[in-house]
């Protein structure tokens, strides 16, 4: 039985901030195929967020994430002026006022997390891979999203981690423990690459070498997607793969650009962008009335 993309559920809110004096209180809910995030923004600043596993019911997953983000804050849904839903399940957030694509939300969120200098964002989620170009305001100028093929997604990496009985967190570091960089696996398809890797293990390749070979193939695959959309600095990587040094390092080498770092949890980029979209929409709404 395949296991899903593994990560820890978490929540946080700013205990030093009293949201009651905030003018614009908005939220974004990002319902992905694997994880859901709810993010609350008060007057342009991150106030709270929660990240939870997505269940079989999208509206329920959205609500669970939202409830957990609100926990301990004294805030209720009624105190939130505008909610934007996004992600795979964006049309299924019943308490949202509008739905915005994950592409636009991701760009906006990255602009907040990495600063207005970010121009290219690579997001490798559990079941998709996106390249987004944006301007200094976080508005999308180009994008490509691949959710058809597992290669280049967290799930693809997980198949390999399972094959080698290595935890997903160890994959990156272990892949760097090679003296010489091996050639990349020849198959892009995860299913066929897995067969190829099984053969390599039989030939006596150590786990680190097999992982190096796979991470190398993955970084090359992603680099071609990046080249298609074009890489303009500054460059940032979000999503689970940002934590895989094996892919990040090889990718940086291949495209000749280093990725920016952030202190924010990269998983909230979509929800944060959605909350910021919500803020703009609330401001417009109030301005109009």
């Amino acid at each position: 039985m395949p296991e899903y993309w593994r990560w820890t559920e978490q929540r946080w809110h700013d205990q030093d901030r009293d949201w009651h004096d905030g003018e614009l209180v908005t939220a974004g809910v990002d319902v992905g195929s694997v994880s859901s995030q709810a993010v609350i923004v008060v007057d342009g600043e991150l106030y709270a967020f929660a990240s939870r596993r997505t269940g079989s019911d999208s509206p329920e997953s959205a609500k669970r994430a939202m409830d957990w983000a609100l926990e301990g804050t004294g805030m209720t849904l009624d105190d939130i002026g505008f909610v934007v839903g996004t992600g795979y399940g964006r049309v299924n957030v019943p308490f949202s006022n509008k739905a915005v694509t994950e592409i636009a939300c991701h760009a906006r969120g990255a602009n907040f997390m990495y600063g207005p200098s970010v121009r290219t964002v690579l997001d490798m989620g559990g079941q998709d891979c996106k390249v987004i170009r944006c301007d200094e305001r976080g508005k999308v100028t180009a994008f490509a999203m691949n959710d058809k093929c597992a290669a280049g997604t967290g799930r693809g990496m997980e198949v390999f981690a399972d094959l080698l009985a290595v935890s997903i967190e160890e994959v990156g570091e272990l892949s760097l423990q090679v003296e010489e960089e091996p050639p990349p696996v020849s198959c892009t398809c995860v299913v066929f690459a897995k067969s190829e890797a099984t053969g390599l293990l039989r030939e006596g390749w150590p786990k680190s070498k097999v992982l190096a070979s796979y991470c190398s193939a993955m970084s090359h695959r992603v680099s071609t997607l990046l080249e298609q959309v074009g890489v303009e600095e500054d460059f940032a990587i979000t999503g689970g793969i940002a934590k895989n040094v094996g892919v990040v390092k090889r990718l940086e080498n291949e495209i000749g650009v280093k990725a920016l770092k952030t202190t924010y949890d990269t998983q909230i980029a979509g929800g944060l962008g959605a909350a910021l979209f919500a803020q703009n929409l609330l401001r417009k709404q109030r301005g109009a009335s």
């Binding site: 694509t101 999308v140 100028t141 994008f143 691949n146 290669a151 398809c189 959309v229």
Partner: protein, 93 residues
């Protein structure tokens, strides 16, 4: 904005790209009826612009959706590209 719809898999890159800045000025929207597979639709995007997009159901099957217009030999001009007056549509294969 350059919207690349489609995917990359073991067999190759299958993207239909719509340059929405060019698309915006179009009034006729002839791409929609021109495609025999019904690949295109008009949407209001996240920035409130009315532009063409690839229908969600086709985004993961573009290799097959576009196959009727792409024989291996003697390929005629693609109907969608021919129909697009502003020249907003391009194919990666």
């Amino acid at each position: 904005m350059k919207a690349h719809y489609g995917y990359k898999d073991g067999a190759g890159d299958f993207f239909v790209t719509i340059d929405t800045d060019r698309c915006l000025v179009c009034e006729d929207r002839r791409c929609v009826p021109a495609c025999p597979s019904g690949v295109f639709e008009i949407i209001v995007d996240d920035y409130d612009d009315e532009v063409a997009a690839v229908v969600e159901d086709h985004r993961k099957t573009l290799k097959y959706s576009c196959a009727p217009c792409k024989p291996d030999r003697d390929r005629p001009p693609l109907p969608c590209i021919a129909a697009c007056a502003p020249g907003a549509i391009s194919h990666s294969w």
